[in-house]
């Protein structure tokens, strides 16, 4: 299927009505602004007169007692207006969501190298940054706990261990015909949202504060800022028009910078802006959790899985942050799409003296899935079967369809069909034969191929977060203002939700104006995360639009003296029989008839019943499925690797916007490929991040993308009743990149068939070389 195919089947709603605006490829609402440089990010907002700039003083050690900081030289530096420490926080010096374990500014103890200790407020950013370097820290250094091994040895945790026990894996392992066990190291990942962390705060009258924040969660920024300032939440208004990338990094961790700006604005009475320098952003913000998966698997001679026991050791860093949900999601995805008759999924949330790891696209899911994909490869290698056959034999199927956390998978045929179709369209078998022949020549170059299936649960596993609100205003000219709690960070949420509203009113997409996410417009929103943005906000906006439409119908009905059921909204007009007027004319008529043309909508996902303590109930509304087939070539003398071709078939239900969805799939895959192949975070022995810029941290660029990259959508309606039967698409495609890791494993395996491949993630050239050397020796 061509990448920009807009003519997908199924462009009808549940009632069989043809869709005009939904299910079509529309560019993003801001596309024209982006290409002309006119799209305004926070650093582009014209600063009010007198705006001050912040820079933090960062802790120079990873762990220790913070006795004091001599700030005299900082205060005396040119253009410095104020220097703020924990003592200057009028409310609570706490940015943690639930566990009260991370302060805005360090107090008493240093939690990680680079932790903000004080904030300089100066006339210019440069002056603030120069001044921030002049502090003298009085810290009693202690030996830091930095790595997963350190934390396991020391027994440090941010949260208690937590397991899913399904059947009896221990006895099943003891009776299984064959077993394997090993460890897989899985690296973290820096978000490198191209727009770094930023917040700007403008003090208002009576203790109010307007905050512009590049955040995926304006409500949380409001909540934390109010807590820091010690004011009611109603006094803080947070606005986010767009983010220059979020990827999870700005879900919880945007709060600190916005709150610092607000604190400075409160202290000085002037507008204040906090924009992190890139290197500081790298050092002071959390990353994807790195894991060590300790696994044991029991299987039969055909490679059918009988038992799985995995301990997911996650490095959470210095505080809980989002590690409850992240590591839980790794556990939920520890079996991916494979049936595990007996399984024990363990988790250890390790506390280290490093920056607090946080959400990153996939939210732990990718780590859980990578571990079992390694297991499937290992089982295939041990049994001598093609890894694809082993994967297919272990897919969920009717009767073998319950996950280790007890949820039944209803749509098992969707994934099976995807895998079968991709196997055919990617020409897997012929290429496999070709690669086997190529590798049999024992050359320096080796090729590998892998087809990896994916099952990703959609919903927040914290049930109450599955809600959204929207506000829709229709004006008397028929133009429509749309606002909802979701944030636009490039994923195309605003255009998708605008399509939904345009469809509901039967008006062109251009008549709907999406507006900045604002806590004043739609309160108490959930973060835009968990691939649930369009599911939740699309539904909420449709509810709001439907309310207004239901008020407009009687106006037209009375005006024409026709039955309400006869009135139709389509193509910008409202009609009944041979009577017709524009949508704007009806809006004007409704106003004259004293009818409200503004409504809010609220939606909550039905049926999410997960009870974490009891480990029962349903954590996901539905699953998104997909599969990717990747082919790689490696040089076993240098470790160099090239992804030669990738085929993806992915399930987005009935796509709301095929072009946007394909972009998410391509982009997610590339980001996942970076995580698993080139992006390596290195902390030195003192706990300093050594890779804190794109010069030392390798992010995929155009030349890294597979030259032959084929992406197609299944376009099969979601069996769950989602917005126009679509599915969330933000996170799942990232996980498809496990196919690249498995393909590299496959290429390496040709060096010593039957052996376990000692490759860890990310599979950098260095690691590939080390694995090759190890297999050859």
């Amino acid at each position: 299927m061509p990448a920009n195919d807009t003519e997908l089947a199924g462009n009808v709603d549940d009632a069989g009505r043809m869709l005009d605006v939904v299910a079509k490829s529309h560019p993003q609402d801001s596309a024209r602004l982006h290409v002309t440089g006119a799209a305004t990010y926070i650093d582009d907002i014209r600063e009010p007169a007198g705006t001050l700039h912040l820079a933090c003083g960062h802790a120079p050690v990873a762990r220790g007692e913070l006795r004091g900081v001599d700030l005299a030289a900082v205060r005396a530096a040119p253009c410095v207006v104020a220097v703020l420490t924990a003592a200057d926080v009028p409310g609570q010096n706490m940015i943690a969501q639930a566990f009260a374990d991370e302060p805005l500014l360090a107090e008493g103890r240093v939690l990680f190298h680079g932790q903000p200790v004080f904030a300089v407020v100066a006339e210019t950013r440069e002056a603030a940054r120069r001044a921030a370097r002049l502090a003298t820290f009085d810290v009693v250094q202690e030996t830091p706990i930095l790595t997963i091994d350190d934390a396991l040895a020391a027994g440090t945790r941010v949260l208690p261990d937590y397991d899913f026990v399904h059947g009896d894996a221990t006895s099943a392992l003891s009776t299984a015909p064959r077993t394997l066990s090993s460890q897989l190291m899985i690296g973290g990942q820096e978000h490198f949202y191209l727009e770094g962390m930023i917040g700007m705060a403008i003090p208002g009258e009576g203790g109010t504060m307007t905050v512009y924040s590049s955040t995926q969660d304006p409500t949380e920024v409001q909540h934390i800022t109010a807590r820091i300032l010690g004011v009611p939440e109603a006094s803080v208004m947070v606005e986010t028009r767009r983010l220059g990338g979020g990827f999870g990094g700005k879900e919880s961790q945007a709060c600190q910078w916005a709150a610092l700006a607000a604190l400075a604005a409160r202290a000085t009475g002037r507008p204040c802006k906090m924009r992190l320098d890139r290197d500081d952003d790298f050092a002071a913000t959390g990353k994807r959790h790195d894991f060590r998966a300790d696994w044991q698997v029991g299987f039969d001679d055909a490679g059918r899985l009988l038992a799985y026991d995995v301990a997911l050791n996650a490095r959470c860093g210095c505080s809980v942050d989002l590690s409850v949900g992240v590591v839980d999601r790794a556990m939920f995805h520890a079996g991916n799409c494979y049936y595990l008759p007996d399984a024990t999924i363990r988790s250890r949330r390790l506390k280290t003296d490093t920056v607090s790891n946080t959400a990153f696209r996939g939210f732990g899911g990718p780590q859980g899935i990578l571990a079992i994909e390694r297991v499937l490869d290992a089982v295939a290698h041990a049994t001598g079967r093609d890894p694809l056959d082993v994967r297919k034999d272990n897919l969920f199927s009717p009767g073998r369809d319950v996950t280790p956390y007890g949820m039944k998978v209803d749509d098992t045929s969707v994934l099976r069909d995807i895998v079968d179709e991709l196997e055919a369209t990617s020409n897997y078998r012929a290429r496999r034969a070709d690669i086997t022949a190529f590798n049999a020549e024992n050359g320096i170059l080796r090729r590998g191929i892998a087809l990896a299936p994916l099952q990703f649960g959609i919903s927040f596993t914290l049930a109450h977060m599955n809600q959204a609100g929207a506000l829709v205003n229709v004006y008397q000219d028929g133009s429509v203002l749309l606002n909802h709690g979701g944030t636009e960070m490039g994923q195309g949420l605003f255009v998708k939700v605008a399509q939904v509203v345009a469809e509901e009113f039967g008006i062109p997409l251009e008549a709907v104006r999406p507006t900045a996410t604002s806590t004043a417009m739609v309160p108490n929103a959930s973060p835009t995360a968990a691939s649930a943005g369009s599911d939740l906000n699309g539904m909420a906006a449709r509810v709001a639009a439907a309310k207004i439409k239901a008020r407009m119908v009687p106006v037209a009905s009375a005006h024409w003296d026709v039955a309400p059921e006869s009135i139709a909204f389509a193509r910008g007009r409202v009609s009944s029989g041979n009577k017709s007027m524009t949508f704007g004319e009806l809006a004007s008529l409704a106003r004259k008839s004293q009818v409200s043309l503004s409504a809010t909508g609220h939606y909550k996902t039905p049926g999410i019943t997960w009870d974490r303590d009891k480990r029962t109930g349903k954590p996901f509304y539905y699953f998104a499925f997909g599969a990717a087939c990747a082919e790689v070539k490696i040089d076993t003398l240098t470790g160099e690797m090239k992804v030669e071709r990738v085929d993806i078939l992915h399930d987005v239900g009935s796509s709301l916007n095929p072009a946007i969805d394909i972009g998410q799939i391509e982009g997610g895959f590339v980001q996942g490929m970076g995580w698993l192949t080139t992006e390596e975070l290195v902390f030195d022995a003192k706990g300093r991040l050594a890779t804190h810029a794109p010069s030392t941290y390798k992010i995929p660029v155009a030349s890294d993308v597979p030259a032959d990259f084929r992406v197609a959508l299944t376009n099969r309606p979601n069996s769950a009743d989602t917005i126009y039967r679509s599915k969330g698409v933000g996170e799942p495609p990232l996980v498809l990149a496990t196919s690249v890791f498995s393909a590299i494993t496959d290429a390496l395996h040709s060096l010593r068939p039957g052996a376990q491949v000692p490759l860890h993630a990310p599979a950098t050239p260095e690691r590939i070389l080390m694995a090759a050397e190890s297999l050859r020796s």
């Binding site: 990448a3 490829s25 560019p27 993003q28 801001s30 596309a31 024209r32 602004l33 982006h34 290409v35 002309t36 440089g37 990010y41 582009d44 014209r46 007169a49 007198g50 705006t51 253009c79 207006v81 104020a82 220097v83 703020l84 009028p90 006339e123 002056a127 490198f192 949202y193 191209l194 727009e195 770094g196 009576g206 203790g207 300032l229 010690g230 006094s235 767009r242 220059g244 990827f247 000085t268 009475g269 002037r270 890139r278 960070m489 072009a659 394909i662 972009g663 391509e666 982009g667 997610g668 895959f669 794109p694 992010i699 995929p700 660029v701 155009a702 030349s703 993308v705 030259a707 992406v711």
Partner: protein, 217 residues
């Protein structure tokens, strides 16, 4: 509040004497701002902080004359100013973005005499007597440049933060003669990071626009 002993530097004259160098200071009213005490229980009244201009930098200023997006200008600038800061803060041309500020991401790409540069690593002083084009100057404001249109048509953007830099790099890539094939485009565009990974669309857009730019030339 710990800094309250001496929140304001005492020699305000020194600070007040600096030239109006930036978009920021140009907006400042230059008068002492007094802030009324805030009402509300939980809110302590802040101290008053008068506005200051940025410090004078004697001997570090220079006269600069250049053409930016077709318009000639002359100005006194701090000789240490980067081209990116000059464009963004003095001229309000915020299309070029500060992504890494180290010349490693490409978000700040603009043209000097038609050649692409990382404006964050280029001293503004270097453009004296030269012609600078930014994303804002790429089209006439009515009709989009073929590259801009192609970026829309091929969904070559997601969050958009890298887009102005990508487009400026792409136009230069074509003009340099480095857009002869997909592989060549991929190689010669590898200095511009798109963290959203919209590279398939970016390469396709450049391929298409290259044809149109060629015909137009």
């Amino acid at each position: 509040m710990s800094q309250s002993d001496d929140p304001v530097d005492d020699d305000g004259e020194r600070h007040g004497a600096g030239p109006a160098l930036t978009r920021r200071s140009a907006l400042q009213v230059g008068a002492v701002l007094t802030t009324a005490p805030l009402t509300g229980q939980a809110v302590a009244a802040p101290r008053t902080y008068p506005l200051m201009a940025r410090p004078a930098a004697p001997g570090q200023t220079m006269k600069l004359g250049a053409t930016i997006n077709g318009r000639q200008f002359e100005a006194e600038i701090d000789a240490r100013t980067s081209l990116l800061d000059l464009l963004r803060e003095r001229f309000g041309l915020t299309g070029a973005k500060k992504g890494c500020d180290h010349g490693q991401c490409g978000a700040c790409t603009v043209h000097i005499d038609g050649r692409r540069v990382a404006s964050c690593l280029t001293l503004a002083a270097k453009v004296d007597g030269r012609r600078v084009t930014t994303i804002e100057g790429l089209s006439d404001g009515k009709r989009l440049h073929p590259m801009q249109q192609a970026f829309i048509d091929h969904d070559a953007l997601q969050c958009g933060y890298c887009t102005p830099g990508q487009i400026m790099a792409a136009v230069a890539c074509v003009q340099e003669g480095h857009a002869g094939s997909r592989d060549q485009i991929r190689e010669y565009m590898s200095g511009n990071i798109c963290r959203c990974g919209a590279y398939v669309g970016i390469v396709a857009a450049i391929e298409e626009a290259a044809g149109k730019m060629g015909r137009r030339a």
